[in-house]
């Protein structure tokens, strides 16, 4: 085995291992947000490691460039997806507070709602007397 083969032999199983832990996490974590943490982030690492492993088997840098493009798009799209899913999950009440140490978003949303409630009530109060 040459040095490049060794690099592939280390990188690819390592990437597969990360993907595996991500998937196990998706099954075993109790909360939706926990599952998202477990599945999105280690998978990114896994993808990069596997791409790097594949790149070592290619004849030259030019044919490896499209692999870099795959990684770039993963880095660009993954956070957007995770963030959108997280926000939707939160606003649909799928975030269980017993697994949270603090939830400052809930506090601030309650505060904002209270302020809006007061603002909506004010005109009625002005009319009453």
């Amino acid at each position: 085995m040459t040095a490049t083969d060794w690099a592939t032999a280390v990188l690819m199983p390592l990437g597969a291992l990360f993907a595996l832990t991500g998937t196990i996490g998706m099954v075993r974590f109790p909360t939706l947000l926990g599952r998202m943490h477990a599945s999105t982030k280690p998978d990114t690492v896994a993808l990069v490691l596997i791409l790097a492993g594949a790149a070592f088997q290619l004849p030259d840098l030019r044919s490896a460039l499209p692999l870099a493009l795959v990684a770039v798009f993963q880095f660009m799209t993954m956070p957007v997806l995770a963030q959108t899913l997280g926000r939707v999950a939160y606003s649909r009440g799928m975030v269980v507070s017993e697994h949270l140490v603090t939830d400052e978003l809930a506090d601030d949303l309650a505060k904002r709602e209270a302020e809006e409630g007061r603002a909506a009530e004010d005109p009625r109060r002005a009319e009453a007397p």
């Binding site: 974590f29 499209p66 493009l69 956070p79 997280g86 939160y90 603090t102 978003l105």
Partner: protein, 196 residues
């Protein structure tokens, strides 16, 4: 004069996007010959015109050393915290708890805020849930958080990430504004401490 400078400037502002599309085209073909580049530029410009993308003024600076530091930090963070997460996943996933913290950001640039929030979602263990643009507050879910004492740690790491992005990509104005906001926040924090 200005009537004809404006379209020229607008075209100039669109150049980076077309350039990026051209590079992508060439990479996908695996061929950097002039013919491919010209064809790529034409396809890129055509797509740009057809998609009617809004023109956003990009006011960023690029500091190579800071960017390299940031990339290194992200790579290391991704790797280490993925290992950390794997450990929690395999041993006791049911006991892992998280926290959502509100962190007031110090930068006021749209682009930098977007980068910070995406950057936080990218690394393991933190994820942006909500961004309050008006108040400049970012809501981040962090994992694993065992008890109250881990909360300030999460908050600090968010602020550190923000600082790294601002210093790597912010313009001189952004950095000045960031430092002023930081002093103000530090002052407010000290005052609150004294009151207590």
């Amino acid at each position: 004069m200005s009537a004809y400078r404006a379209p020229a400037l607008r075209l100039l502002g669109r150049l980076p996007t077309v350039l990026w599309l051209t590079v992508m085209w060439a990479v996908l073909w695996g061929d950097f010959s002039p013919g491919t580049l010209v064809a790529g530029a034409m396809v890129g410009a055509g797509c740009y015109a057809a998609a009617k993308l809004p023109h956003l003024p990009v006011r960023l600076r690029f500091r190579p050393l800071r960017v390299a530091g940031l990339v290194g930090h992200i790579a290391l963070d991704l790797l280490l915290s993925s290992v950390h997460m794997a450990y929690h996943t395999l041993l006791h996933p049911a006991r892992v708890r998280g926290a959502i913290v509100a962190v007031p950001l110090r930068t006021d640039s749209d682009l930098l805020m977007a980068m910070v929030s995406a950057g936080l979602s990218l690394v393991t263990g933190s994820q942006t849930i909500e961004l309050d643009r008006e108040g400049g507050v970012i809501y981040v879910h962090g994992i694993p958080i065992h008890d109250e004492s881990d909360v300030p740690k999460l908050r600090r790491s968010v602020l550190r990430t923000e600082e790294m992005y601002v210093r790597a990509f912010g313009t001189r104005d952004d950095i000045a504004q960031f430092e002023a906001a930081e002093r103000e926040l530090a002052g407010a924090g000290a005052a609150a401490e004294e009151e207590r």
